[in-house]
């Protein structure tokens, strides 16, 4: 039984203040996933660094192995970086009016596709030149690191494709776009690091 004084005390209490979420659940989940993926790539980069340091006479790429197409990949790198910048504009446009983000998201998606298709064509050419995953540790690390990034790029394209579809249907929310964007930025920002380590 509540006494009169207790009831009065309850009435006097201030209304609880509802705190907005610091981060959307999806974004938080994606950030945790990206942290784990960063550690995976850090492990691969470290292994690459150690194996490279063990090669006698600092001969890297090893004798008899084809050279990687540094300049062609630089163009792909630029395409991927531009896609990241375009996605920033898409995000800003979405905040003003959702439908304004359609075109920049589509451009980012196309640039991502250009990157993946160009990388695929590069792989076909390198396989033709004799660089395979078993031809040397050089080939092994190339296909492992670049391939792992390529799989992430494909996943990012699928995610952004889904976001684009949802946007056209008028169902995309800000937190969904932010979640997909976090993954896209991860793929975009990781690539220059991998390019410097693997290609140069």
């Amino acid at each position: 039984m509540v006494t009169e004084s207790a009831a009065h005390e309850i009435e006097q209490r201030p209304e609880p203040v509802s705190r907005p979420k610091i981060l959307a659940d999806g974004v938080m989940g994606m950030l945790l996933f990206v942290f784990a993926e960063i550690m995976m790539f850090a492990g691969l980069i470290s292994a690459h660094r150690i194996v490279r340091s063990q090669v006698a006479g600092e001969m890297w790429p090893p004798y008899g192995q084809p050279r990687l197409p540094v300049q062609e990949t630089a163009v792909n790198t630029a395409a991927l970086l531009v896609s990241g910048i375009v996605l920033v504009f898409a995000h800003l446009a979405f905040k003003k009016e959702a439908s304004r983000a359609r075109l920049p998201i589509l451009i980012a998606l196309l640039l991502g596709l250009v990157f993946v298709v160009s990388q695929g064509a590069e792989w076909v050419a390198l396989l033709g030149e004799g660089l395979t995953i078993q031809s040397s540790t050089y080939g092994g690390f190339f296909y492992l690191i670049v391939g792992a990034h390529g799989l992430h790029a494909i996943a990012a394209i699928l995610a952004l494709g889904w976001a684009s579809f949802e946007l056209y249907k008028g169902r995309l929310t800000g937190s969904q776009l932010a979640t997909v964007s976090v993954f896209w930025y991860f793929v975009v920002l990781l690539w220059p690091v991998l390019y410097l380590i693997v290609y140069l």
Binding site: P14, V17, R19, P20, I22, L23, L31, F35, I38, M39, A42, G43, I45, S46, R49, I50, R52, S53, Q54, E58
Partner: protein, 79 residues
Amino acid sequence: MNRAWIPVLVLAVLAVFPDVVHACPVCFDARDENRQAFLATTAFLSLLPLGMVAGAGLWLRKRTKEIDAEIDSETPSDR
């Protein structure tokens, strides 16, 4: 009994022991470049997760303070 010396002793054992049992790739390698690679990657893999967690923690702290300030400015003061 003063046990303040225990952490120092543990640290000394941890620092010296790998050296004694030759279990430290950073300590023994004929090639200086290889030794440096081990050292650099050990530091990289040790500091990267700490940096990410610290960065996330600092950002969350900053964001919480911003939200608190927004709530304070919206709610009327009882003073």
